[in-house]
């Protein structure tokens, strides 16, 4: 029997006492690991949210939202200002319009419905013949419109934030001014359009270059053209109804938004997903802080359990230590024996705690995040009836922004516990630190025990 076996044997000499210490320590280790896992997952998600949502800034003419509102479109000079703003890496511009029955030979694939009728209830008054007759004013019946979007980037129309799905044909060059168009799948079906088919719009012949699908009935009933083409066809040279600017880093979004607000003044409404993301990740940052405090508290509790336990063990066995020293046991051997004893308890507790931690860290993280998301989330998944888009008409980037905000909320609830090797190593490191601390205390105490004093006083 040597120091190692004596230390291990001593650690289990009182199974009940050692078991209680091991259990308490295991719980604290499990908490440390769970908190580290939760913290890692939350921090990772915060970075992800910032990275995916933080670099797009939407600039629209003040008072305009899609085809709704009033005011003047953004001008070429304003676009130039946006493009030259520091940190802006690229922009995509859109101009939206609607084709009435006089503007095109296409038949809208949307039913007008009561919603569409209500939207058009004022629009024919300008053209209605004046009458003093007490009979009702004669107005043309409302007709479904076909939305048309001119853009420099066809992907800005996609509703999922990704690339637009071209079902057949191909996308056009965003900088082109050719009379070409991508047609929504519903509109194409309604009008029997295929690749190479033509239709008239604004008195010009437009060639179908591709047919796209988004899964959104409103979008799939529209037309996409190069922005320069639409500007020419609608006689709005240089006009833009919405710009999405991409910033080089999420860290620069706030300063760039400020710069744009300064340079564009009150002529434009500027919104960024980063602002929405900031409020969304605020609750996650709260959880991250909470878990950091949890790691510290659990580590302190674990260290205290081991230190106090070993302190009591050494006090309880002062006489035994005195005897061992009296019969020739060196300080090194006595200290070694108690260090092995402390380490044995610590290692058993740590193994149980780490296994326990692996098992509970997932549910604990999910529980922490879902309860936080429930209490702080302000954005919700938007349910829109087929053909309706929040009364905004074909919003383009506005719709994408809505999708982005919804995605942020989804992100919050999708934080899943991930136990990385780094997190596991951190937990093991903290455990070793506690073990060393728990061993150093008895070492210090046993070294101070003088056998003559113990044997005299006991």
């Amino acid at each position: 029997m040597n120091v190692l076996t004596r230390g291990v044997k001593n650690a289990i000499r009182s199974p009940l006492k050692s078991g209680a210490i091991v259990l308490m320590f295991a719980i604290s280790i499990a908490l440390i690991l769970s908190m580290l896992v939760a913290r890692g997952s939350v921090l990772s998600k915060i970075e992800e949210v910032k990275a995916t949502a933080g670099t797009a800034v939407t600039i629209q003419p003040a008072g305009v939202m899609g085809n709704m509102g009033g005011g003047d479109p953004l001008t070429a000079a304003q676009i130039a200002t946006i493009t030259s703003t520091t940190n802006v890496t690229s922009i995509s511009s859109t101009l939206t319009d609607q084709l009435g029955t006089d503007d095109t030979n296409l038949t809208s694939s949307l039913e007008l419905g009561s919603f569409g009728q209500r939207q058009q209830r004022f629009e024919s008054s300008d053209t209605a013949p004046e009458t003093t007759d007490t009979e009702a004013t004669t107005r043309p019946a409302p007709t479904p419109r076909t939305s048309v979007t001119g853009t420099t980037d066809v992907n800005s129309i996609a509703t999922d934030g990704g690339d637009l799905t071209i079902r057949s044909g191909e996308a056009f060059d965003g900088s082109s001014s050719d009379n070409v168009a991508l047609v929504g799948s519903d509109l194409a079906t309604k009008n029997s359009l295929n690749i190479g088919s033509t239709f008239t719009a604004y008195g010009e012949t437009i060639t179908v270059k591709g047919i796209y699908t988004t899964g959104n009935a409103f979008q799939d009933s529209g037309i996409i053209m190069p922005i320069a083409t639409l500007q020419t066809l609608t006689d709005q040279a240089g006009a833009v109804s919405s710009v999405t600017a991409t910033i080089n880093s999420s860290d620069n979004v706030a300063s760039t938004v400020t710069a744009l607000k300064t340079s564009l003044g009150e002529d434009a409404d500027i919104t960024s997903e980063a602002e929405s993301a900031a409020s969304s990740v605020e609750s996650l940052q709260g959880i991250a802080s909470l878990t950091t405090a949890g790691v510290i508290a659990a580590a302190a509790a674990g260290a205290l359990i081991i230190v106090l336990s070993m302190f009591l063990v050494v006090r309880e066995r002062r006489r035994e230590i005195g005897v061992i020293k009296a019969i020739g046991g060196s300080n090194g051997k006595v200290i070694g024996q108690f260090i092995i004893e402390g380490l044995t308890i610590t290692i058993i507790g740590a193994v149980i705690g780490l296994v326990l931690g692996v098992l509970v860290s997932g549910p604990m993280t999910t529980s922490l995040v879902s309860s936080s998301a429930n209490s702080t989330s302000t954005t919700e998944t938007t349910a829109v009836g087929p053909g309706g888009q929040g009364g905004r008409g074909m919003g383009g980037p506005g719709a994408a922004f809505n999708q982005g905000a919804a995605q942020l909320n989804t992100n919050l609830t999708q934080v899943t516990a991930s136990l990385t090797p780094q997190i596991f190593a951190a937990a093991v490191g903290i455990t070793l630190l506690i073990a060393l601390l728990g061993s150093a205390i008895p070492a210090w105490l046993t070294a101070r025990i003088r056998p003559a004093e113990v044997l005299r006083t006991e």
């Binding site: 029997m1 005897v323 061992i324 009296a326 020739g328 005299r456």
Partner: protein, 223 residues
């Protein structure tokens, strides 16, 4: 040979300074069986602790075989205890978590005895002090007082020490068992030429030793 010259020991206690030993001088020849008697509090155990290098005197010197042990470093004193001294305590002081055999093997380990032969040596020692085979694997709590003291003596003899220091070795035993333990120590003294110093208040035991020192109020006189 063991020589103590002008040894004094003073303790600081909450009630003030206590002088346990006052200018004590004595010498013990190799192989002698010596007793130290005195009333409780006379300084007997303190003297034994100093002889066993468990404590250092406040003044004076202890010379054992030409080595002044009170001037040795802590590590050297530990080595001295492990190889030159065997302790026998009134309370036996066996390690409670170890069996009788392991208690003896522990002393062998501290004395630097080869690991491969510790078991055989411990078995032989326990056999020599009358511990039966089935008792060797028992922990101290499952042994009688007399058996524990026998194990304690076997442990003290483990490294063939030059000196055995026994503090009231029969104090907790009935008279018959006490006599057997005393006879065991006496036989050792005779057969192995081991110097044995026994602290006792039993005058009958003291009467059977080669030399007796009487300790009174920290001062010693040879009987």
């Amino acid at each position: 040979m063991l020589t103590i010259e002008h040894v004094s020991k003073t303790f600081n206690t909450p009630g003030g300074q206590v002088q346990a030993l006052r200018d004590v001088s004595l010498s013990v020849n190799t192989g002698e069986f010596v007793s130290i008697i005195g009333k409780s509090g006379s300084g007997k155990s303190t003297l034994l602790s100093i002889l066993g290098a468990l404590d250092n005197p406040s003044t004076g010197s202890i010379v054992v075989d030409d080595t002044q042990i009170n001037k040795l470093s802590g590590a050297k004193q530990t080595q001295y205890r492990a190889r030159q001294i065997g302790f026998v305590f009134q309370q036996y002081n066996l390690v409670p978590n170890l069996t009788a055999l392991e208690n003896v093997m522990l002393a062998l380990e501290f004395g630097g005895y080869p690991a491969t032969s510790r078991f055989d040596r411990a078995t032989q020692l326990l056999e020599s002090v009358g511990i039966e085979e089935d008792q060797r694997q028992r922990r101290p709590t499952r042994l009688s007082g007399g058996q524990q003291q026998r194990v304690s003596i076997a442990r003290a003899l483990a490294n063939q020490p030059a000196y055995i220091l026994a503090d009231e070795p029969t104090g907790n035993l009935d008279s018959a068992t006490g006599k057997k333990i005393f006879d065991l120590l006496h036989d050792l003294s005779r057969s192995q030429k081991t110097t044995i110093i026994v602290v006792t208040h039993d005058l009958e035991i003291a009467g059977k030793t080669d030399k007796t020192f009487i300790l009174k109020d920290g001062k010693i006189t040879t009987k």
